[in-house]
Symmetry: C2
Subunit: 241 residues, 2 copies
């Protein structure tokens, strides 16, 4: 079947979650790296724990409480003058450098709907695509709020057909996150994994928080659901169609 | 209600999961710390991903594939001469130094059943309690195999009443793992959190894999389910009864 929809993960795939680093370092000098990485690791853990606990509190809530966790873990007492600007930066993350060009080329080519399917809450995603200007290039921005589950739960991926009317074999799903690749493949999509920095070998010397993050998230999961394609940048996608 | 059952988490609570470190360092010189920490982080991630994917592959499988992940992440090709002895060591983890004494004192005191409720597979747990001799002190060793879910899914904690006939308010659940504390409290048990090293401040200098692990697992989760008691060692439990 021809691909009729390219569906993108947002955080880590179109948007650089680590672009909160500079603001974190400014507010918590010397601890920007540690807090940024713990924040993101814990934020994802909390999505999975919510599903395990059979609860749903949205990504706005989980992003805020995981930030509190990360600050305390790093020995910083959470106060509004730190948490407010950091959460606001999360609504205005930097897109990866090639994101706009890649989406522009895919839109110009035509023939496929372009959309986001993200763990983000409706409110967070709406701010994010607007602030970055990617909203003009996308047909839809779909939040897992519609399923009240988090990826990789199958109900999340089922939102694609519900929202866009696309069958599984008409979808190419694009993500940098190993768990999301596994979830999308398990659900039955064609999957392109974008390898964000995972391929470079570890630098010599001590392994710090950023490397740990990269190793945990930037390598293929060994759960038995592997991607169909691996790309180095979003601009490589057009060549797969 | 009086407490009629003390239920212990196994990995990280009675048994030191990092006691695989020496063997890992011996087999993969210079990489023992990194591999051990990534292994344990990924092993837990995979339990939550299994629940999210609505699958159940047991802890034996997940422990093996997460080890493969960790070895590859650290640039080591998994081969049987590495994976076999490491998995075997996982069946013979060191109990924490005070575990035997604490269980012995609780057994001598009487009045409460003593049991393990663990993510471990039936086969892994059976080997573990036998190899360490803790089987002689426990009334039961309960695997989440009986629920085909992983903690913190409520079906796991429900195994306590099914197996031991104890009502929620008769149970004191003991764990070092924040997610397990949250799950047990959410389910309705009284919960004692054993703070394994989490209370010591970060040492100065670079933050390495062991510190990251300690920060992620050794601090209370901010999901709104806090323990009733905090203890520094298992031997402090008898004072709570």
């Amino acid at each position: 079947m021809p691909i009729k929809g390219l569906i993108f993960d947002a955080y880590g795939t179109l948007y650089d979650v680590h672009s909160v680093h500079a603001k974190t370092e400014e507010l918590c000098p010397g601890k920007g790296d540690l807090i940024t990485q713990i924040w993101r690791l814990k934020q994802l853990e909390y999505t999975w724990l919510q599903t395990s606990l059979q609860e749903y509190r949205d990504f706005t809530y989980l992003t805020q409480v995981s930030l509190e966790f990360a600050l305390r873990a790093a020995g910083v007492e959470p106060s509004e003058n730190i948490t407010k600007p950091l959460f606001e930066k999360y609504l205005d993350l930097d897109p990866y450098p090639e994101a706009k060009e890649a989406l522009g080329a895919l839109k110009k080519r035509g023939g496929s709907q372009l959309a986001i399917l993200s763990n983000g809450s409706t409110a967070m995603l709406s701010a994010l695509v607007k602030n970055s200007g990617l909203d003009a290039l996308l047909n839809a921005t779909i939040s897992v709020d519609g399923a009240r589950k988090f990826k990789p739960h199958p109900d999340c991926y089922a939102l694609i057909e519900k929202t866009l009317g696309l069958k599984n074999d008409e979808v190419m799903f694009v993500s940098s996150n190993g768990f999301d690749v596994a979830g999308a493949k398990h659900f039955g999509f064609k999957v392109a994994w974008i390898r964000r920095g995972g391929s470079t070998p570890l630098p010599p010397g001590p392994v710090g928080p950023a490397q740990i993050y990269r190793l945990l998230r930037g390598n293929p999961e060994t759960l038995g659901y592997l991607q169909d394609y691996t790309v180095a940048a979003l601009t490589d996608l057009v060549g797969l169609l």
